[in-house]
């Protein structure tokens, strides 16, 4: 235990003792009050309201030492106990009690307006609290300068008011009426302000602060009714005042409840540390943090230094909320480097130290998660670059095919034509030249055939011109095995997808012919749900593997680069089935 917390404890104990010392006479006075002022609280209410203020005040003070609400509530408890002095029969005590009789109301106004931060923010807040103070203490004392006994709404048996310097009960009563009229307006204003503020907050904020809102509104409403009733001469008797006192007794409790909820959240930090430090079972970090700070809507964004931006869990880019957003973000750093950002409800801004503690407790886990997110971001990039590579390869293949077609092939055909012409122009009897030319032409035909097959293997023109279904049909027609095609492909698909499927089928047919000893092959292609599925199955000996120089590895790469799946099933003796499943949207 640190010296700080010891000192804190001593301070709280001291204030508590003082409170008890103040409470005893106050409750005694309330229990023994003469029956002259029926609206004064009885012993039970005196104890309830005072005890609630003192207990909750000390509790809040301890829970949130930096928040002014705890001390203010404890102070209000003393004001409340002091007010009971108005029941005393000693004129001096009576005078003091009457002067501070309504001071506690100003305390309540402060508590309700400054909740949850404990500080007054707007000038309207300050004006309201200052007015409450001026009315409760200032105007009361001013009225006491004139009034005595009935002039201060007290019976004839009341002690004398020692503050009275001038005798004018009428003026005193008029001032007290004014005090109540302005007080009523002020109460309504405070209530409206509290409700609108609550309503404007985020969902988490609304939920967290609901207890204080309910207690506060009830208190202010009961106070308004009490004042109005009082202005009308008290037709409702002591009922409104009693309701007001009971309601007021719940306000400190509500404040403490909200603080303790947060304190519970503090307890969650400890739980979080234990959870994150536990054995290596996977922890949903986002959920753990959301639970710890009490904001189910919490989101995580991780720093991705390679591109100097934030990414989500899956490595996809995220935008952080801007200044106008209804969300807030808190940066988590480690050794001066950004790790992550917590995107959360604005209510957590009132609890910044909790968020800081949670971040500190989780920073190692966050750094780990960040590394994972970075890895995923790199994978996303890698996938994209693989896709681009396939795209580039396909474009390059098309270009080579086109160049061969327009260049080399045409030139060779032109040479073949010249040879044909030469052959025709050979003079009769050139017996030695004739077979030479014929042989050259034959060789040229073979060269052209080889070139034709080569260019066809590089990129089949039919695929570009007539689409996948036509190209697969042609493949099956050319196959060295009986091949049955089962293709229901009406549409065209992205170029890379068509090429990938084409080469998969082409390679599978070639493999089946070379290695499988199959009697026939079945090729099935179909598209459903944005995926193109192709399957090549033979009835051969099986036992094929995707490793080695079979060309299947390259095809698997090609398919996977497009985000697809490539599977090979080849149990010995049961044929080979090759399947590619590629997203095509």
């Amino acid at each position: 235990m640190t010296r700080e917390s010891l000192r804190m404890k001593a301070k709280l104990a001291l204030v508590g003792c003082a409170g008890v010392v103040a409470a005893v006479p106050a409750v005694w006075l309330a229990a023994h009050q003469p029956p002259h002022r029926p609206t004064e609280p009885g012993a039970v209410l005196t104890f309830l309201v005072g005890g609630s203020l003192l207990g909750s005040g000390l509790g809040s003070w301890r829970a949130r030492p930096d928040n002014r609400l705890g001390p203010v509530m404890a102070l209000t408890a003393f004001a409340w106990f002091a007010a009971q002095l108005s029941e005393a029969s000693s004129p001096a005590l009576y005078t003091i009690g009457t002067a501070v009789q309504y001071l506690f109301i100003a305390g309540f106004v402060y508590v309700l307006l400054s909740f949850p931060s404990g500080a007054l923010h707007g000038s309207l807040d300050r004006v309201l609290v200052a007015s409450a103070l001026a009315l409760a203490l200032g105007l009361q004392v001013v009225a006491m300068l004139w009034g005595n006994k009935s002039g201060l709404r007290c019976s004839a048996s009341c002690p004398d008011n020692l503050l009275r310097v001038l005798e004018d009960n009428g003026r005193a009563l008029w001032l007290l009426g004014l005090q109540r009229a302005i007080g009523g307006a002020l109460t309504v204003t405070a209530a409206v302000l509290q409700v609108t503020r609550w309503w404007r907050g985020g969902a988490a904020q609304r939920r967290a602060q609901a207890p204080v809102l309910v207690a506060g509104c009830l208190t202010l409403a009961a106070l308004t009714v009490t004042i109005v009733d009082d202005l009308l001469g008290g037709p409702l008797g002591s009922l409104p005042a009693d309701v007001f006192f009971y309601a007021a007794a719940t306000v400190p409790g509500a404040v403490l409840l909200v603080f303790l909820q947060r304190r519970l959240a503090w307890g969650m930090v400890a739980g979080l540390v234990v959870q994150l430090g536990g054995p290596n079972e996977p922890v949903d970090l986002r959920e753990a943090l959301a639970r710890a700070v009490g904001d189910p809507s919490l989101e995580l964004a991780f720093w991705y230094p390679a591109e100097a931006r934030y990414v989500d869990d899956d490595g996809r880019p995220v935008e952080l909320p801007g200044p106008k957003s209804s969300r807030r973000s808190t940066l988590v750093e480690r050794d001066g480097e950004p790790i992550a950002v917590l995107v959360h409800d604005p209510v957590l801004e009132h609890n910044a130290e909790l968020v800081r503690s949670v971040c500190a407790a989780a920073s190692l886990a966050l750094e780990n998660q960040r590394l994972q997110a970075e890895l995923r971001a790199r994978l996303v990039e890698l996938q994209a670059s693989r896709g681009r590579l396939v795209e580039v390869t396909d474009a390059e293949r098309r270009r080579i095919e086109r160049n061969l077609h327009d260049g080399t092939q045409q030139r060779l055909v032109s040479i073949a034509m010249s040879l044909g012409l030469l052959q025709a122009k050979l003079p009769a009897g050139a017996a030695e030249a004739e077979p030479l030319v014929a042989e050259t032409r034959h060789e040229l035909e073979l060269a052209l055939r080889e070139l034709r097959e080569l260019t066809h293997g590089i990129h089949p023109p039919l695929l570009t011109e007539r689409g996948l279904a036509a190209a697969l049909e042609e493949l099956c027609r050319r196959a060295a095995l009986p091949a049955r095609l089962d293709a229901a492909l009406e549409d065209r698909f992205p170029d890379q997808v068509e090429s990938a499927v084409y080469f998969v089928v082409s390679e599978a047919l070639a493999n089946a012919a070379k290695h499988s000893h199959a009697a026939q092959v079945r090729v099935a292609a179909s598209s459903r749900g944005g995926r193109l599925v192709v399957e090549v199955a033979d009835d051969g000996t099986g036992g094929a593997t995707a490793s080695g120089g079979s060309g299947l590895r390259g095809l698997a790469d090609r398919v996977e680069a497009l985000g697809g799946r490539f599977t090979l099933s080849s149990p010995p003796g049961a044929g080979t089935t090759l399947r590619a499943d590629i997203p095509c949207e």
Partner: protein, 216 residues
């Protein structure tokens, strides 16, 4: 016989027209793409058009599309489509719209002057020509047992292939060094085995045969 040549490559266009002239044809027009070809035909109609399948602007199947238009506008013009690739599908697309005066050949076949002039003449006279390589793909492809083609004799399959190339009974007889009568007997057998209705016309039977082969 008057011929128009359409090919986007100058050396092939010029080379082909020289060959044709050498073989005794009259080259009455040259075109570098399908649009030019149609313009040339608007002015005067030759007996035969020789057109490259792959031409600008898209370098895909312009020749094939031009052939369709020509067939509609001037059905009497023979069309010989040349291709650098063997593409059975295109050949069948071309023949499906009618086999009269239509041919599909690999480009390098033109180097054989005798073959070239025979093919151009055949197309010009309303006959049909199908590249042996295409026929080979249709007939020579591996098939499952119990396929009717498996029941044909070697000689009958040779006759079937030459039929599919568009040759007449006489040409087949010359090529195989047998009598025309024997050819007729083989043809009858082939049609019976494949359960095709016999057709006396040399030209029309090409499509029936090709369609049959493609379906198997």
């Amino acid at each position: 016989m008057r011929v128009v040549v359409a090919d986007d490559a100058v050396i092939l266009r010029e080379g082909l027209s020289r060959l044709l002239e050498e073989a005794g044809f009259e080259v009455v027009g040259l075109a570098a793409d399908a649009d030019q070809l149609l313009e040339v035909l608007e002015r005067s109609q030759p007996d035969v058009v020789i057109v490259d399948i792959r031409m600008p602007p898209s370098h895909t199947d312009e020749g094939l599309r031009a052939a369709k238009i020509i067939r509609q506008k001037w059905p009497e013009i023979g069309i010989l489509v040349l291709s650098q690739h063997v593409n059975t599908r295109y050949a069948i697309e071309l023949l499906s719209a009618g086999t009269d005066g239509v041919g599909y050949l690999l480009k390098e076949r033109v180097a054989n002057l005798a073959e070239l002039s025979a093919n151009v003449n055949r197309v010009g006279q309303g006959g049909s020509v199908l590249d042996p390589e295409v026929v080979d793909q249709l007939i020579g492809r591996p098939r499952q047992a119990r396929n009717p083609l498996e029941r044909l004799s070697e000689r009958e399959r040779e006759v079937l292939a030459l039929m599919a190339e568009g040759r007449s009974n006489k040409a087949i007889a010359d090529r195989l060094f047998i009598s025309e009568y024997t050819v007729e007997k083989h043809v009858k057998n082939v049609f019976e085995t494949l359960e095709l209705s016999p057709s006396a016309d040399d030209h029309r039977r090409v499509l029936a045969v090709v369609k049959y082969l493609n379906g198997q």
